[in-house]
Subunit: 292 residues, 2 copies
């Protein structure tokens, strides 16, 4: 039986899985993330069980080098994560078996899953923004993952500070000047003295959080003109959040340009907890399609 493989590489765990030709999951396993060498040993031991793998999609925590022209293509870039800086993930996999691999970021994987499961029409554009421990974006422009000199790191969009926000910011690079520094889970936790999950619905925290996410939505709108902006990650699990983002977006944007109806434009992720794995399978599939 022909199989596709998935490697969803996260900061706390790696999920590996195989599916059949109809994208039905045959098996999946979770591996705690250790250093590069040990983690990839376990990943390879997992896939060793399967002879007939046709292609593997790898969606990896960033920053990674996805520029095929670069000397360090396929590697993890500088990261505070112990035992990962410079680790050659793609090289390791190719040395194991010379298969087609689709190599991209975790957010690109999730964006691709949303795209392939019908969030937008084929060849249209979307932004997938995850708001959790970090903030990151996967961008699909006219049916292709957008990248240039490297992959987007749109968690670091410059922000206008909310007038009621006195927090010093959490980004080691941009402090309180960027989206991640102001709106990621750890920023909320440090600012309010409790986790995002524990803040009550009527806390002013949500108005401020929505303000920043709405600014990002405006920036995406004026730059990319996407058909949808999809919010994933832990923080948007809070049901009151996206309505507040739509309201703030509407106030900030002042209807300057045509967008789809906001209820269809600023939306939660629909592929849910399987997004990562599913994205990898679809990536593996598109790699195969491109080759043949």
């Amino acid at each position: 039986m022909a199989l596709l493989g998935a490697i969803e590489g996260g900061g706390t765990k790696f999920v590996v899985a195989v599916c059949d030709e109809d994208m039905k999951i045959v098996d999946r396993q979770s591996i705690p993330t250790e250093d590069g060498q040990k983690t990839m040993d376990a990943v390879i031991a997992y896939f060793d069980q399967y002879e007939d793998i046709k292609a593997i999609g790898i969606a990896m925590f960033g920053p990674i080098d996805i520029n095929p022209e670069s000397r360090t293509y396929g590697r993890v870039l500088d990261t505070p994560k112990r035992g990962w800086s410079g680790y050659d993930v793609l090289g390791r996999m190719k040395a194991w078996r010379d298969l087609p691999y689709f190599w991209t970021t975790d957010v690109n994987g999730a964006a691709w899953a949303e795209y392939k499961t019908g969030a937008i029409e084929p060849d249209h554009s979307l932004v997938y923004l995850t708001v959790g421990t970090g903030v990151g974006a996967g961008i699909i422009n006219r049916g292709e993952l957008l990248s240039g000199y490297g992959h987007p790191e749109a968690g670091h969009l410059m922000m206008q500070k909310h007038p009621k926000d006195t927090y010093k910011g959490h980004c080691p690079f941009h402090q309180d000047r960027c989206l991640e520094g102001l709106a990621a889970g750890p920023a909320m936790a440090e600012r309010w003295g409790k986790t995002a999950k524990d803040l009550s619905d009527d806390d002013i925290a949500w108005e401020i959080e929505a303000d920043y996410l709405a600014q990002a939505a405006v920036d995406f709108t004026v730059t990319l003109r996407p058909d949808k902006i999809i919010f994933g990650g832990g923080v948007p699990h809070r049901e009151i959040l996206l309505p507040l983002v739509r309201k703030a977006f509407s106030e900030k944007f002042s209807n300057y340009l045509a967008t789809p109806d906001l209820d269809d434009y600023i939306v939660p992720v629909s592929t849910g907890d399987n997004a990562g794995i599913l994205g990898c399978f679809y990536l593996a599939q598109s790699k195969l399609e491109k080759i043949s």
Copy 2:
């Protein structure tokens, strides 16, 4: 002799021109911009002189509808410019002669000229940002003009206000919250009581202007990862400006991601005053290539 045509539609004048197969300008003419009907009468009278036009590139002041799936494709959208809202520019040209037309914005035309004259490698990415009476961007992503639900209007990126700036802003939609509202020529003129052109090099105005342009450069960098950000329009004629933008970019960005060397990354336009017309010719040419 086979010719290509160019229509550079600006707010104060339209420039029309024809070139030969080697992109050498055969003739050009400037037409003062009146309402849609009158201006296009003059445009058509101009091209009536030439029998053998193979294709025309049209680079038009925005907002315009460039979404081929839209009912109003080819028209000017709502604009304060008298006699232009809803005017069907492309329809008028097609009714005149059924040629291949490349229909896009003025900034896209200029971006395309930069791309085709070698600002970046083929299939790479650039942002062309014009800072004049308005602020607008043309974006080339992997060798294609980027558009989605419509064309970019990246002059309206959300900004963090400079701490020394108390100006109320100039954007009718976003006041002091967006780039155009804070950094366009008219914003500078109103804020400082004299035009950008008349401000001395050591005026604090330039530090503040550079701050906003650097924020935009950071936003483009984290979203699009372009190979170059090119500044055009009247305000960057000021030679001290781009060095200040590079400095502010460097401080704000804190080397968070790899970029090309800043002297090659944040650069002035190189095609100069011919950019608009040249862009139209290249657009006409790519339309022909796509067809054949």
